[in-house]
């Protein structure tokens, strides 16, 4: 999609908005306030952080900063990766500052807390940042929460299935010894076994361990074909870097990372990252519309020219859908808007066709990517090649799964 088409969309949006003035009476204090609650200082800063606010603002700008005569405002805050700080900010935003919707929330613990708070107050959480599939879990799901981009289930499922099906039958998994690591590990082990592979061993590593050599050698001596990394951020970077150093690849072992973002690959450099396989929901260079939007994003991002992570893209896309739903229903009441968002499939320029299910999970295609070798890359940020597309219905945890949201289990 080209830039002019976006402007066109925005113009249509405004035109539509102008026609809905009677409904505007149902919008609290006559403004829509979007709170970007994200990690500005910790491990998720680069995959979300300040650029999440930039992506959110882009969506708001496309609506001309208003719906009819209702102003749209964006505020931001750093949850500092502390659930109590995030929860306090969320409460105050909802209770006093008139925030209608909280977005991003890269950090699972904070997201789970905010999800409950939004539910109690009939507000909305658009979770694009957190990984945990507990947001749509049996007891922890909420009708006011949309979990947009990815989750641990989809990532582990996507990568493990694709890798086993292309011959990587035996696995050794290095897991971050934290709830999200455990859930990645559990999901991957299940898939590997279901698809006829076997897990030779796992090792649980404390978070922020700088040195992985010991665990990599344990993986090596297991003689598994695939070394799965159920960790994130600096832990992933350190393990990939050291796997290259210890020459895992030379002895025929392959690395499969269960949670990798574009910013991680950027940091590793292709020399080190090449050959790494992983699942993501978005890549800037997928098609014309992702390229067009990403270029626009790059102009507003800091540092300039940064390409968006899937979380950034998710923020733009989900805010657009949210504002469309507010417009259509003429209210900013949490449940009403989220139900509207769930009503029909939406063909998103960035994430393709997909629908938000009853449990709040948006289902869309996921992609298995491989990091390019340095000589395959044609320029800055040209990092991924697409290995295969994982259809949405295979990628995510089914509605009927016993671990899935009990209230909406089909």
């Amino acid at each position: 999609m080209s830039r002019s088409m976006f402007t066109g969309l925005a113009a249509t949006a405004i035109a539509l908005a102008l026609g809905m003035s009677p409904a505007a009476a149902q919008i609290s204090d006559n403004r829509i306030k979007i709170g970007v609650l994200t990690d500005m200082s910790g491990p998720f800063r680069d995959l979300a952080g300040p650029n999440s606010t930039a992506a959110t603002r882009m969506a708001v700008q496309d609506f001309g900063n208003k719906l009819g005569n209702v102003q749209i405002e964006v505020v931001q805050a750093d949850h500092q990766n502390r659930a109590d700080v995030g929860a306090t900010i969320a409460r105050e935003w909802f209770d006093r500052d008139g925030v209608d919707v909280i977005i991003d929330v890269a950090n699972s613990a904070v997201a789970l807390a905010v999800s409950q708070i939004a539910r109690e107050r009939n507000k909305v959480l658009l979770a694009t940042g957190p990984a945990t599939d507990a947001l749509t879990g049996a007891q922890t799901c909420s009708p006011n929460t949309v979990h947009y981009v990815y989750d641990t289930w989809a990532l582990a499922n996507g990568t493990a299935r694709a890798v086993v099906e292309s011959g990587g039958k035996s696995w050794f998994i290095i897991t971050a010894d934290y709830a999200f690591g455990h859930s990645l590990e559990a999901a991957a082990m299940r898939v590997v076994r279901e698809t006829g592979g076997d897990v030779r061993g796992t090792v649980r590593v404390p978070l922020n361990t700088p040195d992985f050599s010991s665990f990599l050698l344990q993986a090596q001596s297991s003689r598994a074909q695939i070394v799965g990394l159920a960790n994130a951020g600096a832990d992933t970077i350190n393990s990939v870097k050291q796997a290259a150093e210890f020459g895992l690849g030379r002895r025929g072992q392959k690395l499969a990372s269960l949670l990798v973002f574009l910013s991680d690959i950027h940091s590793l450099g292709l020399q080190t990252a090449q050959g790494l396989q992983f699942t993501e929901a978005f890549y800037w260079d997928l098609n014309d519309s992702t390229r067009a939007w990403s270029r626009r994003f790059g102009e507003q991002a800091s540092p300039r020219g940064t390409m968006p992570s899937m979380v950034h893209a998710g923020n733009y896309s989900v805010v657009t859908q949210y504002l469309n739903a507010v417009q259509a229903t003429g209210t900013d009441g949490g449940l009403a808007v989220v139900n509207k968002m769930k009503e029909a499939p939406y063909n998103d320029p960035l994430f393709g066709n997909g629908q938000i299910r009853a449990d709040g999970r948006r289902v869309h295609d996921m992609y298995l990517f491989e990091a390019k070798a340095p000589n395959e890359s044609r320029g800055p940020w040209d990092y991924y090649k697409l290995v295969r597309t994982i259809p949405g219905e295979q990628a995510f945890r089914p509605l009927s799964h016993p671990d899935n949201c009990a209230a909406t289990r089909g």
């Binding site: 910790g42 590593v205 050599s213 450099g269």
Partner: protein
């Protein structure tokens, strides 16, 4: 699970980590021994060393080996600046104040770098001359890791020799016991103290450069390490040079073994040892009570 070969392998890897602990805790011990400052900024300065190496490569095209010399000098110079401005007024006060002031410095350094460079880290490759592996019989050791141990051993022993066996070291030790008397002999004690702090943090900077090719170069890399290194210094005996070196290597080794037997506890084992040591030998293994 723990057969001899695996034990040897993990022990070797542990010693490599121990090399980092030894060098960092050595710097801390030198600073504590001679300045009475608990230098909480040590982790941040280690991180700064890695960032300087990255900066030298990215902006000036200077590779690993020049960085190995230049980065510690730059970090040392920053340390001297810190000592002159922040630490000087604190010598007569309780340890607590030095600790808090340097903690503040660490927060500032890390915060600024986070704003500037984000947290994902900077790429820094192993220098071409040190790539590849050596066959030790029981394992393949990356040559770079061997190099790290070698440099660390040389630096640690060199420092120990300088402080315990040379005339300069004798002055330094005398100055900690009785600064007024040493001053009376015509030795400029304040300058000596400043240079000592510079040297201590230069060691941190050097460790940072050594770490850059194998660990993620990011603003948080020091903060997760500092508390462990502290434990090492305390176990060895605050201010004991030889104690910090030996404890550094030994703890790396023990941590390595824990990674095989009970990996979840590998970051906690250091604290368990610290508690036990402090209860049995209050001044640390090599400290004087």
């Amino acid at each position: 699970m723990l057969d001899l070969e695996a034990a040897l392998t993990q022990g070797t890897l542990g010693l490599i980590n121990g090399a980092f602990y030894a060098m960092l805790s050595l710097g801390l011990a030198v600073i504590f021994g001679l300045l009475n400052i608990v230098n909480f900024a040590h982790g941040a300065l280690y991180m700064l060393g890695a960032f300087v190496a990255w900066g030298l490569l990215t902006f000036l095209g200077l590779g690993y080996f020049p960085a190995l010399i230049l980065a510690p000098l730059i970090v040392g110079a920053i340390g001297i600046l810190l000592e002159r401005t922040v630490l000087k007024p604190l010598y007569k006060l309780d340890h607590l104040y030095g600790l808090l002031a340097t903690f503040g410095v660490a927060l500032i350094l890390e915060g600024v770098l986070r704003n500037e460079f984000g947290v994902s880290g900077m790429p820094y490759a192993v220098p071409p001359d040190l790539r590849g592996v050596v066959d030790l019989g029981y394992m393949f050791l990356p040559r770079y890791r061997g190099w790290v141990v070698l440099v660390s051993l040389l630096v640690c022993l060199g420092t120990w020799y300088m402080i315990e066996k040379t005339r300069l070291g004798a002055y330094l030790r005398a100055a900690t016991e009785n600064p007024a008397l040493v001053q009376a002999f015509g030795i400029n004690v304040p300058v000596m103290i400043t240079l000592t702090y510079g040297f201590g943090v230069a060691l941190a900077g050097l460790s940072g450069v050594l770490a850059a090719p194998i660990y993620s170069v990011n603003p948080n890399m020091g903060s997760s390490l500092i508390i462990v290194v502290f434990a090492v210094v305390v176990i060895g005996g605050m201010g004991s040079i030889l104690g910090s070196i030996i404890t550094g290597f030994a703890l790396g080794f023990i941590e390595g073994m824990t990674k095989v037997v009970y990996p979840e506890a590998s970051t906690t084992v250091v604290f368990i040892i610290m508690a036990i040591v402090l209860l049995i030998k209050p001044a640390g293994l090599f400290g004087r009570a």
